[in-house]
Symmetry: C2
Subunit: 137 residues, 2 copies
DNA sequence: ATAATTGATGCAATGGAAGTGCAATTATTA
DNA sequence: TAATAATTGCACTTCCATTGCATCAATTAT
């Protein structure tokens, strides 16, 4: 079990208070968050810092972007099984039309999608929309 | 074979010159277009008019939105097989990382995606990214 | 036919998210 | 301790999406 400090150091990212806080914030959340979410959680910090922290995490495959169709980019920590840096990885995310939350279904893999001749598939973005377990109860 | 006029009238949308032009523009395109694309094609018209025309079309299931992950909403005419108003329809779109164009692959259906217990799938948004037939040649 | 009403269009402005340049601050290394 | 490099905060900018309001065109009622 790596500490957050070790994780950051292993990727040559300097350990700062801000980064630890943002990492912990993301780790506590089960859902994907927007930059505004982070902004609201850290009102003392500057938007730009939060933005750049997330970008740093993204570049180093600590978080990955999720495009759930709401028009606002969301972010979530990469988990054990997350191969979002690998081109052919299939992301599966669920967006709840009721509570508007987006969660990663990392365990649910997607079958290979066939594309017409001449097309080369490099990456697949799949978002299932509907009602999440909390809202359907 | 319905004329555009008939199509609009059947949906209680007034037939205007602008609407006919935009419809024709979309019909000629095989790819999904952004509002800016339409704007560039009709420089004399106001952006708002184009925007609201597309929105009217969207509400009446004449076009559907495509979120291909570029961050900019794209639109394409609903085709014969397009059931984008039906909840369980599976949209499949292909976004070319090279030419940045997005096309509808209406003929390519996707298998039903399984979601965990408690989750209700209403809709699936699937975007395959890669290289299109024109660019891979 | 004309007035009243409804819808379409154009202009101006707003809001939100994403991104950048630069100065100041903090941490690392020489 | 000085020099260097990275991080943070502030101020902007840009781009897309969206709305309010006035005007113009078209439809309906009188």
């Amino acid at each position: 079990m790596k500490t957050i400090e070790q994780l950051l150091e292993s990727k040559n990212i300097r350990v700062t208070a801000m980064r630890l806080l943002i990492y912990k914030f993301l780790a506590e959340k089960e859902i994907a968050v927007t930059l505004s979410d982070i902004e609201n959680a850290f009102e003392k910090a500057d938007r730009t810092t939060l933005y750049r922290t997330i970008k740093t995490f993204e570049e180093n495959v600590i978080v990955h972007q999720i495009d759930d169709g709401t028009g606002i980019t969301k972010y979530a920590l990469c988990e054990e099984g997350c191969n979002c840096d690998i081109k052919n990885d299939l992301h599966l995310h669920f967006h709840c039309n009721n509570c508007n939350e987006t969660i990663c279904l990392t365990e649910h893999k997607i079958p290979q999608i066939k594309v017409p001749d001449g097309f080369v598939s490099e990456n697949v973005n799949l978002v299932v929309k509907g009602i999440c377990d909390k809202c359907s109860g």
